[in-house]
């Protein structure tokens, strides 16, 4: 007895330590769970350049909030935008508007290119220079000369007589529909005028604190803008909006699932025991489990994700089984039996159920998803602490007279006596044939879909605004792009140019609307030299178009030579560094990755790409050295697919492992323990197939848990003796029902991943529960294990 008291006290010490650590974490360190969904995804394997390209693009996109303030006329749009900005400016610790476009920035913009204008040609101009006659260029120059508004014109006529530089600048301008106007940025939407307000978040986009401050601020600013005039509309888009919506929903779901599950469990236990004591005891075990899980998880990972809490908390809920099992048996056992003796009798079964569940949870840790690993560790730890609480404390806290024998649920308890059992008879054969038939039908219809986008269900209104914005601003996708690498910056630029030549036909046939590339602004040295040589050969030299133009407008003989001298200027090349230093590169700097891992790399981003066309884009760089198509969505989806398959094998192997674990104790009747779970798993898959659901990784994870929990029921059922059969059946009913309550509520989640997980659990566990008695042993007087001989 003394030894036992030591155990109780030792565990009390552990629990006190956990309490202190948790108090320190929450009150002292004020920890906050992560909400960034990306941290849950596998880290890009092997390729650091690719990884950097992606973080580069995503980081640039993530902290951005873009606002469009539209009205029927420009002055009203400007007033509304000012009203919006006034509100935002009050909190420049949260977000800040970009600097306004000034006269100075515009001048600086062009100066670099003006110095090297002969080096710059659009692809069309290059084609025309090669293909068109001298007459054509003389005509073009004449047209420009005489027309009062003959097209884009930058500076004096003599600096750009053929309009090549003007055309090049215009092509650059057309990379975006956004234009500076009155110190603001303007975009036209049909007949409406909109001010574009780019904002940069100064707090992490995925912090809940940030959401709580940023969202009301944006809402307030939106109201201010809309109140400033009639028919003002405001579109806001940014990662932070999705993040805020997702965490708000997750918070809501945590409360609903948590509270719902709790209320259900309390009700169930009260109905069974007519006492709150068991509830307090079970909550105590789950509470200690959660404390322990959080403490150790934090020590291991130094962070915790919100989804880990959502998911992990419901997994720890499984820990109630141990408590309920003990309590039901306590009520069912004879009064003479000491609680420690009872524990000794129950221990083998409790240990096996515990081990098999942990095996199931730890299989999750084998996946490469940091999020799943965290959940696995969190839930396993929770189970360990909850289980140990039951073992160390329950016998001490629950004596033979602590609980009254419940009178409720007698009909349920007795129902097990009338349950059909499997045997060598016609009825079993018929049921078996039906089962095989249905399974074959269902399984044959099973389909797979691993698309990552199925895992999220962004709010429709946010997606709508985002799409409108993307269409208006024609912004490139940050998750699908080409990665170009080379030994030197020149290599990279040359490869970009090769890639662009392949992309140009796709713009013509509207597969994409355009691309953003550094080489649009700063051609490779090779191209700069050849452009310059081309212009000099075709336009400036000898008796070419420039000279012909001179004679046409009656200029003197040396006019062409003077013009040529003025146009040619110093013969120098622009470098990537020149461009990166100039203000013109501000919007494009993120495309240049610079030197990574000994080589140089850049990104070529695509505008106007629809999802359906990404397979076309994938084929473009075929056979091109140093060019790679990066599709994060596709990649994650394929990882999900790989691990769905992988998890399928893990489930199968786990069945084998569990069989081996159980065999020493149950011998030839081990199949009886496993059969309900096997049947339930197959039938669940068949039902999902028959219902036309797509199978994905999360269904597999659910199967894994069904294995972990289902086997518990099998073990409990098998551990029973004649006089406690009813208590065991009651226990299985209570834990199955309460587990269904928590996971059933998960099926109500609006996050598709959780929903399909919940649905699978719902079907699978119900089937396990209902089929467990079918495989119980007929002869009830004899115990299956040594424990009974106590």
């Amino acid at each position: 007895m003394n030894k036992r008291l030591w155990l109780v006290l030792a565990w009390l010490l552990v629990v006190c330590a956990l309490l202190a650590h948790n108090a320190y974490l929450f009150a002292g360190k004020r920890i906050e769970p992560d909400t960034d969904i990306l941290t849950l995804l596998p880290v890009q394997e092997r390729d650091p350049v690719l990884q950097q390209a992606f973080t580069h693009m995503v980081d640039a996109a993530q902290q951005r909030v873009i606002v469009l303030v539209g009205a029927d006329d420009w002055p009203q749009a400007v007033r509304a935008a000012d009203a919006f900005n006034d509100v935002i400016a009050q909190r420049d610790d949260l977000m800040r508007a970009s600097d306004p476009v000034t006269d100075k920035t515009q001048g600086e913009w062009l100066s670099l290119f003006q110095q090297h204008r002969l080096n710059l040609l659009t692809p069309q101009q290059e084609t025309d220079l090669r293909g068109q006659s001298g007459e054509y260029w003389v005509d073009a120059a004449m047209g420009k000369l005489y027309s009062p508004f003959g097209g884009p014109k930058l500076g004096a006529w003599r600096d750009d007589p053929f309009g090549l530089f003007g055309g090049w600048v215009q092509a650059r301008a057309q990379e975006t529909p956004v234009r500076p106007r009155d110190g603001k940025l303007f975009v036209a939407d049909g007949s409406r005028h909109s001010v574009v307000i780019p904002l940069t978040l100064r707090v992490p986009a995925f912090s809940i604190d940030a959401h709580q401050a940023v969202m009301p601020l944006l809402a307030h600013a939106r109201e201010a803008a809309e109140a400033s005039g009639q028919k003002v509309d405001v579109i806001i888009a940014g990662v932070v909006l999705h993040a805020a919506a997702a965490s708000e929903r997750a918070n809501w779901e945590v409360s609903v699932i948590g509270v719902g599950s709790m209320v259900g469990v309390i009700l169930l236990i009260w109905l069974t025991f007519r006492s709150f004591k068991p509830i307090l005891l079970i909550m105590l075990s789950i509470f200690v489990g959660s404390l322990g899980a959080l403490s150790v998880c934090w020590l291991v990972f130094d962070r915790i994700h919100l989804l880990t809490l959502v998911f992990g908390a419901s997994l720890i809920g499984v820990a109630q089984d141990y408590g309920i099992y003990f309590l039901c048996n306590r009520v069912g056992a004879a009064k003479e039996m000491d609680s420690w003796q009872l524990l000794r009798r129950l221990f083998p079964g409790m240990f096996l159920t515990f081990v098999t569940t942990i095996v199931g949870y730890l299989a999750l840790a084998l996946t490469p998803f940091p999020g799943l690993r965290q959940m696995a560790v969190f839930s396993s730890l929770g189970l360990v602490f909850a289980w140990l609480t039951v073992i160390f404390w329950f016998p001490f806290l629950v004596g033979p007279n602590t609980l009254k024998k419940g009178t409720q649920g007698q009909w349920y308890k007795r129902s097990v006596d009338y349950w059909p059992t499997a045997g060598l008879n016609r009825r079993t054969l018929l049921a078996f044939i039906l089962f095989i038939g249905f399974s074959a039908f269902g399984l044959s219809r099973l389909t797979f879909n691993d698309d990552i986008r199925l895992l999220q269900s962004p709010r429709a209104d946010l997606v709508g605004e985002q799409n409108r914005m993307t269409k208006l601003l024609d912004t490139p996708s940050p998750v699908q792009f080409y990665l170009v690498r080379g030994e030197t910056p020149e290599d990279v630029l040359q490869r970009e140019e090769m890639l662009k030549r392949k992309l140009d036909p796709l713009i013509e046939n509207h597969t994409i609307s355009g691309y953003q590339a550094l080489s649009n602004w700063i051609p490779s040295s090779r191209t700069q030299l050849s452009n310059r040589a081309l212009v000099e050969a075709k336009l400036l030299s000898g008796h070419g178009p420039l000279w012909m133009l001179g004679t046409k407008i009656n200029e003197e003989y040396n006019w062409a030579a003077a013009m040529r001298a003025n146009l040619s200027g110093p013969e120098s090349l622009m470098t990537v560094d020149d461009f990166l230093r100039s203000p013109a590169s501000e919007a494009f700097r993120h495309l240049w990755l610079g030197k990574v891992d000994g080589s140089y790399a850049s990104v070529v981003a695509l505008r106007g790409l629809s999802m359906n066309n990404s397979s076309i884009m994938k084929g473009v760089p075929q056979g091109m050295e140093g060019v790679q198509w990066v599709d994060k969505i596709d990649e994650i989806s394929s990882v999900l697919g790989r691990y769905r398959l992988y998890m399928g094998w893990v489930v199968l192997l786990s069945f084998g492992a569990v069989y081996l674990l159980l065999y020493p104790r149950y011998g030839k009747s081990t199949w009886r323990v496993l059969m309900p779970t096997i049947i339930a798993s197959i039938a669940t898959l068949a039902m999902l197939g028959a219902a036309g659901q797509n199978l994905q990784l999360f269904n597999m994870l659910a199967l894994m848990l069904i294995l972990g929990i289902g086997v518990d029921y099998g073990i409990f059922m098998h551990e029973n003796t004649a006089h406690n059969k009813h208590s065991v059946w009651l226990e299985i009913g209570i834990s199955a029902l309460s587990t269904l309550l928590s996971f059933g509520l998960l099926a109500l989640s609006s996050t598709p991943a959780l929903q399909s997980f919940g649905l699978t659990m719902l079907i699978g566990l119900t089937l396990v529960w209902l089929s467990v008695p079918c495989f119980s042993r007929k002869e009830t007087g004899k115990a299956g294990g040594a424990a009974e001989n106590e």
């Binding site: 476009v101 005489y146 097209g151 234009r179 500076p180 106007r181 009155d182």
Partner: protein, 204 residues
């Protein structure tokens, strides 16, 4: 956010319109002097003095300004060249060849350019005032106006514009900061239904 603060040139030349400010008495007087026909056609004679060219370049042709439709600018001499500005497009044709086409869907400033040019040719000072500082003088039935862009970038790109006239705009002089100078004289102005020639109606 990508943006292109470039694009001054003639494109930005014209940032925009609307917002009639408080008009000065002189502007109101000019507005009352100007006839505002739906269709206005006539002859123009243009003289350009460009830096780097010793002799001025002369050209002439016909122009039409049609309310709600746009502007047609047909250079006939020394060679045919037509600029057509409509709500959604600017096209320039030289002979039979389309030398340039700018679409509003590609280039959002197209509408503004057209609006400003329309206002310039029809003398709509109220519209121009949102973009330019307007220095207006009247003398009897004659008036003259100096325009200076309010935006420094715009002022740098297009310099200053002066207009004068009576019931119609008679002269426009554009002095660019580069020293290039364009002056246009309008004559033989006709309004109403018969003003447009058939080939002009079909083009606009």
């Amino acid at each position: 956010m990508k943006r292109s603060p470039l694009f001054c040139g003639i494109l930005v030349l014209l940032a925009l319109i609307s917002l009639p400010l408080q008009a000065s008495p002189a502007i109101e007087k000019i507005q009352s002097l100007l006839a505002k026909p739906n269709v206005l056609c006539g002859r123009f004679d243009q003289k350009k003095k460009l830096n780097g060219l010793k002799s001025p370049l002369s050209s002439s042709g016909r122009f039409c300004v049609v309310a709600e439709k746009g502007v047609l600018w047909r250079t006939l001499s020394p060679f045919p060249n037509t600029v057509r500005l409509t709500r959604n497009e600017i096209t320039q044709t030289q002979g039979d060849r389309v030398a340039m086409r700018l679409d509003a869907s590609q280039e959002p400033t197209v509408r503004m350019i057209n609006n400003v040019l329309f206002s310039l040719l029809s003398g709509d000072l109220a519209q121009l005032e949102s973009l330019f500082e307007v220095d207006a003088r009247t003398q009897g039935n004659k008036w003259n106006v100096a325009l200076k862009a309010r935006e420094p970038a715009l002022a740098k790109a297009i310099g200053s514009i002066s207009l004068d006239g009576g019931i119609y705009v008679k002269n426009i002089v554009i002095t660019e900061s580069s020293g290039d100078r364009t002056s246009i004289v309008f004559s033989e102005i006709k309004t109403g239904k018969g003003a447009m020639k058939p080939e002009e109606s079909s083009q606009l």
